[in-house]
């Protein structure tokens, strides 16, 4: 049985209502768009890398609470970190969302997102932001 409180935890509702880093970076140094074909939702990630660090990270998108909170939490967590750390956390987050790793490996602030695994129809929503960050980071090296 699904418990809605599992998905819509206070922290997720809060990040949905007041998403952090919800803006464009001008000029966009690097950006990537992830798209959920099921619902048409998109998350667009903007990223600025300098000296091996993600100096700025932001997102836009008219998406559901799960996608919005995921992007908000992720940008908050990753901003200012080294690109290596960002890549590692992205890989871990993907692994948890794929059911290949326990939520415990994630930084604490991301752990609530793992509850989405109880709602298989919504896992892709949580995944949009991390996919876009990954792509944007890749694009920043090109």
């Amino acid at each position: 049985m699904t418990d809605l409180a599992d998905l819509y935890q206070a922290v997720i509702l809060d990040h949905n209502r007041a998403p952090r880093n919800f803006r464009r970076i001008e000029p966009p140094r690097s950006r990537a768009l992830a798209h959920n074909p099921v619902c048409g939702d998109t998350v667009e990630i903007f990223l600025r890398v300098a000296d091996g660090r993600v100096k700025d990270l932001a997102f836009l998108g008219d998406s559901c609470a799960v996608a919005t909170a995921s992007a908000s939490l992720l940008t908050e967590l990753l901003k200012g970190r080294s690109t290596d750390t960002v890549r590692t956390i992205c890989r871990q987050f993907e692994a948890v969302l794929s059911g290949d790793a326990e939520a415990g490996i994630l930084p604490e602030s991301l752990q609530p997102m793992a509850r989405v695994l109880h709602f298989p129809g919504r896992v892709q929503c949580a995944r949009l932001a991390v996919q876009a960050v990954d792509q944007a980071l890749h694009a920043s090296r090109l």
């Binding site: 699904t2 809605l4 819509y8 509702l13 949905n16 619902c39 048409g40 939702d41 998406s63 609470a65």
Partner: protein, 419 residues
């Protein structure tokens, strides 16, 4: 109790939805511990036991390939399969069952007309007219043939309420227009379009026209002779029938003039390596072994739907629509997308603080199935500046009590997400 049926002036007896529900085994099940409230009928309806049994009986009792056996089973299967042509002709009031082609669904029916009737007559600069509210399956097949031929797609806009004006349609018919394709009922907005009047416009300009009846045929009486359309298409799975089966109705003279679309078995008269003679319609358009059990299931679905009385179904679903709309007005921040005066039982809506996807999840936890998404009508979403909508769509087995459950659950959404 009886209600006045808006289609004809005779009085239609009200449907007994509670009794109808007994015919649908799946409606007995629970979802997340709650009774299933199935309001995703626009995507696909559920099947009554008689449809499930008809398909099962075919496999259990007389299945064989059709049109090719001298043996008993093949003859029985062929007879059962071909009988459905007459049923479909009856449903649509087609002049003859030779005008009924079985396809895989609405999508394939439209592609068939695009490739076989329209594409051969297109020259660069010619125009195909559709409307801004079409389903992707009534957009993309036309784009494909435009790509091949250099023709272009002309799109008739619609009002904020989701209505087409005949003036807007008429003003977009030019000397280059070659074909018109319009949905009779919008899956994303619920609008019932003035199909008959649009066909008359086509007639006045000597154009042929297709009506996409995917959301109309399962919900109201349809009379293709009265509509006077050249082609009419629908899918079995939205009409309480199986998936993978659809109908293309076409006026016989037009079908007869059309080249085959796919080649293969069953659509030929004789084949040599030098030359193949094609069969007459409808066989010409039914290459290969069809979905035999599915078509037989469609036959049972048509019988079932006819016995309910399509006019009574429309009246029942309209009652649910009005009942739901009235209560939705009390939910803060809820906006109905598609407010045409003439609407079928489809309710598309958005909520100020809750994304349709979240609405769908919260309703699902209460056992309520709706659709959340773009409904394969992304241009409609763009028209209203929303990424998606939530959509409740009604069928004959839905009840006012289910609408009450929907409304209660929507209040929950507002409590959780509202500011």
């Amino acid at each position: 109790m009886s209600v006045t049926n808006p289609v004809s002036t005779r009085t239609t007896p009200a449907l007994d939805a509670e009794r109808i529900r007994q015919d649908f085994p799946i409606l007995q099940r629970e979802v997340h511990g709650k009774p299933l409230v199935y309001l995703d009928n626009g995507a696909s309806a559920q099947r009554p036991a008689c449809v499930i049994d008809a398909e099962g009986d075919c496999y259990r009792q007389y299945y064989a390939n059709i049109h090719r056996g001298v043996h008993m089973l093949s003859q029985e299967s062929t007879r059962a399969f071909e009988a459905v042509r007459g049923k479909a002709a009856g449903l649509l009031n087609a002049a003859s069952e030779r005008e009924i082609v079985f396809t895989r669904g609405t999508t394939e029916s439209i592609n068939l007309v695009a490739q076989s009737h329209v594409r051969p007559m297109l020259q660069p600069g010619d125009e195909i007219l559709i409307t801004g509210m079409e389903h992707h399956s009534n957009i993309v097949p036309w784009q494909l043939i435009c790509e091949y031929t250099g023709a272009k797609l002309v799109v008739v806009p619609f009002s904020d309420a989701g209505e087409l004006s005949l003036e807007d349609v008429a003003s977009r018919i030019t000397s280059r227009t070659r074909f018109i394709s319009v949905m009779q009922v919008s899956n994303a907005l619920g609008t019932i379009n003035p199909a008959r009047e649009i066909v008359q416009l086509a007639r006045r300009h000597g154009l042929t026209i297709l009506l996409d009846g995917a959301q109309a045929a399962p919900h109201m009486p349809v009379d293709v002779q009265d509509l006077d359309c050249d082609f009419y298409v629908f899918s079995a799975h939205k009409l309480y029938g199986p998936t993978g089966v659809g109908v293309l109705y076409g006026k016989y003279d037009l079908l007869k003039a059309m080249p085959p679309w796919q080649g293969g078995g069953d659509m030929i008269r004789s084949v040599t390596f030098e030359r193949t003679e094609f069969a007459e319609p409808p066989a010409r358009f039914e290459a290969g072994t069809p979905n035999i059990g599915g078509v037989i299931g469609l036959g049972a679905a048509i019988d079932y739907f006819q016995a309910l009385d399509p006019a009574a179904v429309l009246a029942h679903e309209t009652d649910l629509l009005r009942y739901a709309e009235a209560q939705m007005a009390d939910i803060p921040g809820l906006r109905i997308i598609g407010t045409a005066a003439d609407k079928a039982g489809i309710l598309s809506f958005v909520m100020e603080d809750a994304h349709p996807h979240d609405i769908g999840t919260i309703l699902d936890a209460d056992g309520i199935a709706i659709r959340a998404g773009h409904h394969c009508a992304q241009p409609v979403m763009q028209r209203y500046g929303v990424p998606a909508t939530a959509r409740a769509s009604f069928a004959a087995y839905n009840t006012r009590a289910e609408v009450d459950a929907l409304i209660a659950s929507l209040h929950k959404v507002h409590d959780l997400f509202g500011r």
